[in-house]
Symmetry: C2
Subunit: 480 residues, 2 copies
């Protein structure tokens, strides 16, 4: 019995110390490893396979909306980064600088891209001439680098993997529509494929992207009640385009400036999957994104016919496009079960002599531990249904958690008291001033504005902080 | 008629000036664009889509052999790069150095990875303990940077995209087998999917990878007779593992050092596709890797029913997993034809009122210009056959070119004369000394050793240069 408890013993209980639980899960599920450079991670096979599935699903969704993939260089000359004033102010303090190439000192410093707006703009300035060249709907899957002071696996690292989409359009209206469309793509992807419920809306002025006119966001709630910004879509208007002089001849042969968007989703989302769905036994992966959807665990594998049957089931499942594997190690069943649970594999199939005799298998759901006995004949039909049911249950469970951890307040006293005694977000009215926004964050011990949700409610007439007329209802919360 | 010739006029004839032809094709097919940083390219949609298809096909082949994908950081500390003596000597002169992170000077310089052996070794040194942890079969798709002095799109750039596979094994035998297996994977991929015939063999000591015990290579011949090293697989033995102290406990509980391999294929291969298959009308893409396999060109598109029929055919082909698109622009048919040819799209489908009346379409093959009239009913059955036939014809044509441009020589006079008057490779015997290898390259004006082929022939008893006993038959040739 000691073996059977080993994995669980290795991780801290979630409600005892959430931060330590997170670190333990990341380590024991072998998602990533540290390197000698702070904040630069190794994505091990278990972690990278999740990202590969995210890429595959999201890339398909992008392409359906007409987006094309490209690749732009890792290096940006300092002079290019400086072309848009807000942008350089936002990013210059946190980039890494290349000063030497080979044995020579460079004439101009080059930064490792923190994001690629300036490179896209420079390319388009040279290549776009006419309305016939528009729109350009580009995306790239790459890594970017930001010299963060404090780092945590997936949540905040110096180098991280992401996609950055960049588009230019003939009109502001079309660009604004694209901004919203890509937010919708993120929303659908995260809710449907990752089973993570979201709130969405617009970022306040102080929280928007450096150089954007408007930033829209999807925000998820982690199990500790903190928010994680999970994807953003920016409307640039023609700010960058003016700075980079990206002009085109319209149908009337007049010179106009393009309108622009960008949108990104990163490996932070792996942190969200862990912190929304994980439990005291480890990772819980949504079936649609899980690299392995079922692990077949032979019981008494040395007995005649057991491994053969397990192999037969494995082949049958593979042929039905279910991502399956067999645990052929010589560990005890208890160890195998807790390892499969730790890794978050959505189901396991237990098969031993007893089951073979009755021509059935036992399926155990990772999300709720339910045991389902079904006939082997029905496996290839039933398992996909069970996986889909797990996907839905996981979403519903997380949605209940989200809904039950959103509260509202109409006075600062109420807000502070609530943030002190409960997890989650608080809705409150706001006048729109940056000063009030900052004071609220200060007085609540760090609960900033998450977004101005698209679905507004009228909680009161006045700003919760200053008492002046309210402009918006805002979600407030602490965040990663 | 002027329009119809426009694309062809834009590119130099291939046999007139091969280098200029190459540059023209890359530009007119919109494969890539230059940036302000020399040797750092933008992969435009047409170019990147080829790489995406290469990734997809090759990645599947890797995974079938048990390889798992990972991602390692872009930055390597100087002290780590220096751990293996040959390796640092090979790479240090050509790396880019990061000296500042944010506003601070770093305590230790970090280089942008030129390749990732050192990072893999550092990770394994920490994580591998027992024979149970072996083998590790890892691969990553990433970009690397080497500060080259002269650069050319795809063929030699400072930043390039590639995959680098890294494996460790319990025995030298197993590692040697993996080295050969991955060379075979490259060989099959390049010959089958890219229709490029190859010679393969072992690199000489002076041409092998910095730190390897043995380097194996696949070499292709471009239309100008020069070689392009298209993929390499390295056997490291335990050289790196000793330097990094990667040890494991074997089954007898004794400490042993692992044996290691690495293998890579890069975006250079796009250069090979262009220079093996391209012609005076532009790019010619092998159907299996072509982002678009057929372009439907409506003739008299304004006439009733033409666009409808084109759309119908498009949907039908898409449903049959043929990568199709329709040219809906208002350009003349002649312009459309020459554009499709320039882009290397393997087939076009011409459909106009005449064809609709007879319920047929005209398919034009890009590789040999053949026109094939077939009934619309048969299209979804016949087109895949035609694409497969193009794939085979392209390979056969390139194979004939390769075979007819390999000659042999037994004296230096003969060799020099042949290299002066003809394109291609020359086989000749070699004693194995680096001095002779260098002299041969010098006296032939640059024809170096391409490889010691696995299939050896006995051309004479003595080294072509020094007359001492010959050890190997070697392929000699100029190269990119």
């Amino acid at each position: 019995m000691t073996n059977e408890k080993k994995f669980v013993q290795k991780i801290t209980a979630r409600d005892e110390n959430f931060a330590q639980w997170y670190t333990d899960v990341v380590r024991e599920a072998k998602l990533c490893d540290y390197t000698a450079v702070k904040g630069c991670l190794i994505y091990e096979p278990n972690g990278y396979a999740i990202w590969e599935n995210i890429q595959k699903d999201l890339d398909e969704r992008f392409k359906k909306t007409g987006v094309q993939n490209v690749y732009l260089p890792v290096l940006i000359p300092e002079s290019l980064l400086e072309k848009e004033a807000d942008h350089v102010e936002g990013f210059a303090p946190e980039v890494a600088w290349v000063t030497h190439g080979g044995l020579e000192r460079l004439e101009e410093r080059l930064c490792i891209r923190p994001t690629s707006e300036t490179l896209f703009c420079d390319h388009w300035q040279k290549t776009v001439k006419s309305y016939r060249d528009l729109p350009k709907l580009y995306n790239q899957w790459n890594s970017v680098l930001r010299w963060e002071k404090t780092t945590r696996p997936f949540l905040r690292s110096r180098e991280f993997l992401w996609q950055e989409g960049h588009t230019i359009h003939a009109s502001a209206k079309e660009a604004e529509e694209r901004t919203q469309l890509m937010l919708k793509v993120y929303y659908d992807f995260v809710t449907e494929d990752l089973a993570i419920p979201l709130i969405c809306g617009q970022k306040t002025e102080s929280e928007k992207f450096a150089g954007a006119e408007a930033t829209y966001t999807i925000e998820a709630m982690m199990h500790d009640g903190k928010a994680l910004q999970s994807g953003t879509s920016h409307f640039f208007g023609s700010g960058f385009a003016e700075a980079f002089n990206i002009k085109f001849l319209n149908k009337n042969n007049e010179l106009e400036t393009v309108n622009q968007t960008s949108w990104g989703l990163s490996t932070r989302i792996i942190g969200a999957i862990i912190m929304v769905h994980g439990d005291d036994r480890g990772l819980v992966l949504p079936p649609r994104i899980a690299p392995v959807q079922t692990r077949i665990i032979p019981i008494n594998a040395h007995k005649e016919g057991v491994l053969e049957k397990a192999n037969e089931i494995f082949n049958q499942l593979q042929n039905n496009n279910i991502r399956a594997e067999i645990d052929k190690t010589d560990k005890t069943p208890g160890w195998k079960f807790s390892e499969q649970e730790m890794l978050g594999i959505p189901t396991r199939i237990e098969i031993g002599p007893k089951e073979i005799e009755k021509e059935e298998v036992i399926i155990v759901r990772r999300d709720n531990n339910e045991k389902i006995t079904i006939s082997i004949n029905e496996l290839e039909k039933r398992l996909p249904q069970i996986l889909e049911d797990i996907q839905k249950s996981m979403y519903n469970k997380a949605k209940e958690f989200l809904d039950s951890h959103i509260d509202s307040a109409t006075t600062m006293e109420e807000m502070i008291e609530k943030f002190n005694k409960q997890r989650g977000f608080i809705k409150a009215m706001w006048c729109g001033s940056e000063k009030c926004e900052g004071e609220i964050k200060y007085e609540t011990g760090g609960a900033g504005s998450r977004c101005i949700p698209f679905e507004q409610e009228h909680l009161s007439d006045t700003c919760i902080y200053c008492g002046k007329p309210a402009k918006h209802m805002v979600f407030w919360g602490k965040s990663y």
